[in-house]
Amino acid sequence: MSKRGPRTPAQAGGHETTGSRPFSFFRAGARNDGSAREKPILVLEDVYKYFDRDRPVLRGANLTIERGEFVFITGPSGAGKSTMLQLIYRKLMVDDGRILFCGRDIARLTGDSVPYLRRNLGIVFQDFKVVPHWTVAENVAVPLEILSMPQKVVRSRVAEALERVGLAGRGNDRTAVLSGGEQQRVAVARAIVTEPALVLADEPTGNLDPQLAIDILTLFEEINESGITVVFATHDHSLLEARPHRLVVIDEGRVFEARSGLQDWQGSGAVRRPEPTAAPVHVHTRGARIDADPTDVVQLHRVAG
């Protein structure tokens, strides 16, 4: 009756590195596609998403993310950051275009296959989405239970994940008694416990104070150093300033890309835009303003105060 897909060695309790993960996810019995390892982990091709026919949330979004990258996605509230992530983990469906995860078009997945896609993803949210009346260990163990791993393996993998996020020995604590930062660490541990190919973080620091936000960002960077690709959506400019990672800006449904983070941007100035827009765009975020020139450049300026 189980519809589980074939387990990856890492899922089965091994410690294979994420880089060689076979990505056999879509359905039970699906063939392992060896060429998937050679392809970018995530490609958005001319993606459109409409909630209102006149105002698409994403209009022709193009983006390629290679394995092992750490990518910031930023933009003002309502720009489409969360929408983009929801399209990737198939909470939403694209209206046009393609999203390729390891070379496979996830928009074409049937509803029954979506869980197998998500087993290769770790997702972290602004509101943590932990179950408060469960213990820390029970929360972190969820993805492993879904994979029907033996309890012995579950215990060891949970302990390992908790150690990685700095919550070693807290497994028996009720999650409700933890602080916000600790609850987010639980969510991160749950996201990485299966050693997924890709971690999607949707404003994971939105409910945390600045110091905790930096701590959580550092945690994601450590996760990224282990080979896991991280897509980190945030509108918190202090984080963008703090780390020189690749930066993708979403504004009015369009995606603008820089090769590196905010610091480099301020030095070099601009990035090519796929299509010019009629008017300049001013994106206000905490600590900075992003000006998109109507010709083809995006410039970022510090905002006084």
């Binding site: 009756m1 189980s2 519809k3 589980r4 983990y89 029954d112 869980p115 197998y116 896609l117 998500r118 087993r119 993803l121 997702i123 989405k129 932990v130 179950v131 009346h133 469960w134 029970e138 929360n139 969820v142 993805p143 239970e145 879904i146 029907s148 749950r190």
Partner: protein
């Protein structure tokens, strides 16, 4: 769906919603108790009907003071009929003794004089004798001078059959009502549980849980509710039966001619397992309606 994981998660669900499930199980147990009681009544009424239908008997009451020669001649004549299996005379004293023995009453009734019991000829008819032929024999025997009256038990049997039929219909209606109760109670309990665990379900789905993985524990919880409730009902009825049996069995035997019996083990197993199955069905129906995953 991994059954072991489903059971583990269902156990967690029971732990979290213990009060809700306690109320649901107790409500269901009352419903199952009604059904089990109806089945118990049907079991005993059917036993009576079986007993009386199988007997094919006739009692010929002998007039007081009838000469023994006439009585013996009548008995011999009856015994020679091809429809008659046996014909035995029963004196007043023997009739009294048989009553005291069968009825197991003792006390004051055991002290009744033998005169209170008329002498009789007990006739057992062969299998396959039609009711019309039995009535014909009874009518002919009734004209004999030594005969006070003839009892064919047909009217009693017909009443009993009618009673059993009514009882079976009632039990069927009760079973349908119990099924509706199970669907409603288990369904609503699962609905409340789903509403209470909305966050948990969302987390599961985001972590890659299939629909069957999400639904599994709820189905297990529904099955356990139905199973536990029907088991509680059967055990409760069994205890009540054991307590009352010792006191009432003799009286019932005296009145009906059969001893009271508890539910057949096969009926008990069917009832308990049926409770579990009904719980699963009710849970599945509720999930289909209220769980959008």
């Amino acid at each position: 769906m991994d059954l072991h994981t489903a059971f583990l998660r269902a156990r967690r669900g029971f732990r979290e919603d213990a009060k809700l499930y306690a109320v649901a199980v107790s409500s269901l147990a009352v419903a199952f108790l009604c059904l089990a009681t109806a089945l118990l009544a049907i079991t005993n009424l059917s036993a009576m009907a079986e007993r009386w239908s199988r007997s094919g008997r006739m009692t010929i009451y002998v007039r007081d003071g009838a000469p023994d020669v006439d009585v013996q001649a009548l008995r011999t004549t009856l015994a020679e009929l091809p429809e008659v299996s046996s014909a035995t005379t029963l004196s007043a004293a023997e009739a009294r003794e048989q009553f005291v023995r069968d009825a197991n009453v003792g006390g004051e009734l055991a002290g009744l004089p033998a005169d209170a019991f008329p002498a009789s000829i007990e006739v057992t008819l062969r299998t396959g004798v039609t009711a019309a032929r039995a009535d014909e024999i009874a009518a002919r025997v009734g004209h004999v001078a030594a005969v006070e009256g003839v009892e064919t038990y047909r009217a009693f049997f017909q009443k009993l059959e009618s009673l059993v039929l009514t009882g079976r219909t009632t039990a069927g209606i009760v079973a349908v009502l119990v099924l509706i109760c199970v669907l409603a109670i288990v369904g609503n309990t699962i609905r409340l549980a789903v509403a209470g665990r909305r966050d948990e379900i969302e987390v599961l789905k985001l972590c890659g849980a299939t629909d069957s993985f999400v639904r599994g524990p709820f189905l297990v919880e529904g099955a356990l509710q139905g199973f536990t409730a029907s088991l509680v009902a059967v055990v409760f009825l069994g205890v009540c039966y054991a307590l009352l049996h010792a006191q009432l069995d003799g009286t019932i035997a005296a009145l009906t001619g059969v001893r009271a019996a508890f539910l057949n083990p096969a009926v008990v197993v069917t009832l308990v397992l049926g409770g579990g199955v009904a719980g699963v069905v009710a849970s599945a129906a509720s999930l289909r309606r209220y769980l959008t995953v």
